[in-house]
Symmetry: C2
Subunit: 324 residues, 2 copies
Amino acid sequence: MDSMNGIDHAPETPTLKIKAFFESAPPLKDAAEIETKLKEFVHRNSSPENGKANRVVCVTSGGTTVPLEKRCVRYIDNFSSGHRGSASTEYFLKAGYSVIFLYRRGTCQPFCRSLPDDPLLECFTSTDDSSIQVDPSHAEVVKRAITENRSAINRGFLLKLPFTTIFEYLQILRLIAVSLRSLGPSAMFYVAAAVSDFYVPWESMTIHKIQSGSGPLDMRLAQVPKMLYVLRNEWAPTAFCISFKLETDTNILLGKADMALKKYNMHMVVANELSTRKEEVIVVTEQEKITVRRDTTQPGADVENPLIKLVVDRHSSYINHSDA
Amino acid sequence: MDSMNGIDHAPETPTLKIKAFFESAPPLKDAAEIETKLKEFVHRNSSPENGKANRVVCVTSGGTTVPLEKRCVRYIDNFSSGHRGSASTEYFLKAGYSVIFLYRRGTCQPFCRSLPDDPLLECFTSTDDSSIQVDPSHAEVVKRAITENRSAINRGFLLKLPFTTIFEYLQILRLIAVSLRSLGPSAMFYVAAAVSDFYVPWESMTIHKIQSGSGPLDMRLAQVPKMLYVLRNEWAPTAFCISFKLETDTNILLGKADMALKKYNMHMVVANELSTRKEEVIVVTEQEKITVRRDTTQPGADVENPLIKLVVDRHSSYINHSDA
């Protein structure tokens, strides 16, 4: 019987747990390049032409993976299309925010939500003289995707950073948090990514592909330390922080959201249920629970439209309160 | 401590194991639509204008997922970009084969291997009058991808069928095998997909999201029955069958490939090592072991080019031998 034992004698406080997690993580490959991009992005948004610092939000999007082998063939993944994160990014840009979009490779991109899975092959045709052209039925969405994405990137309002594993995600998130500190309460974290709860610590991971053929596979996975606590209390103590709670069981959803709000000291927790998450969410704060629904009278209206309006409004109050 | 126990008293023969697997699998959603497509495809390739049956290959590509929950939030995935399957499909089409491309959603598509990850956003720009155009640096590959893909599909030589889970993959593979039976030895199975070895049987799977917060997670995963045996011996007994063996440890690779050849009665096993798989493979047959390397004197040459030449040659011998 194969066996993978991922548990060590785990340290007890969140800070120590995270320290242990980072010490055991494989080093981030392009850390220097990411830091340079972040530095430029923050500089541009700290001193724009009008002399007033921009609001910057870090939107995380898509699911993180947990490798089961160092030369990785198998991994555990969290399902997330990236729809929430990419839609929210569009509305944040519309509201005048600059956005750092920390996304899982291959997931939904801002301005691309209405496109088919494989837009290049599905939206274009080749003509008789073998030049290519957009299918008339897709022309508008294709043009919008290309134009608005280019515009946001070229004008310096959108920085996209990809990740795959939980190790990459958390290391990049920490870099972002540290680099946004100078913006104080004007910075926001909107962590919509589906982050793995369980992982195999790198140092106890098998190097080679796990062999099948000798019966069932027993695995013991360690809990990923709760990074929200460290994000809020250590990495980004002055930023406005919004986390998400997804459940499939409505009976436990609000209780879990409330617990996350208190335990991690979040400013808002967005509670959503898997099957209705595109229709409505419940925003939980210390004072209130607000149900936010998409406008069903408008074809194609998103729940992210009213959600981001609410978030921006509460962020404004937070900034004003910090100034006072 | 959470616990998921995926093991029942498993039946012992391959046939009984597979029967149990299919009985416990969630039903395939679009089975009728897939069967109609296959029927049309096989009909077109059974009686073409020249009166001679076409050769048809089913290429499987990408990795299968194993859900850990019925309302799935988490799953185990097998890493596979789909590069091998999509490249091989191109060379099979070039060699005059019709191809059923059974691929994991989101993985590499035929004719798209040279494109960046997100071709629509990365290869196109918008001009001042807000019309869109291809970046000159990507013009050739974009044009080739669109034109050749459309041509193969419109002329009826390429049928693409997507899957995500191991349940979908094996159910569609069985539909394909049954529908290709009428082609006898002219049919080939080239199963390059990275198929899960371990899974949680559907009936013993938890319905809701597994809760974190109460310590480590213990999982016991059952072995996926070895479908290659049933494919070769029951579903497609007259077809030419090629399977793949990927390992990260070269010391065990050829032994494992040999074992697969004998155990599943394959006609060929393509052995590849994770780190060198784009440079060379070793083709294992009953009589020989042939190392196939890409032509390093040609920029951009693939190992799939000589590999498919060899496969086609051996398939011809197989057909001739069957006729005799």
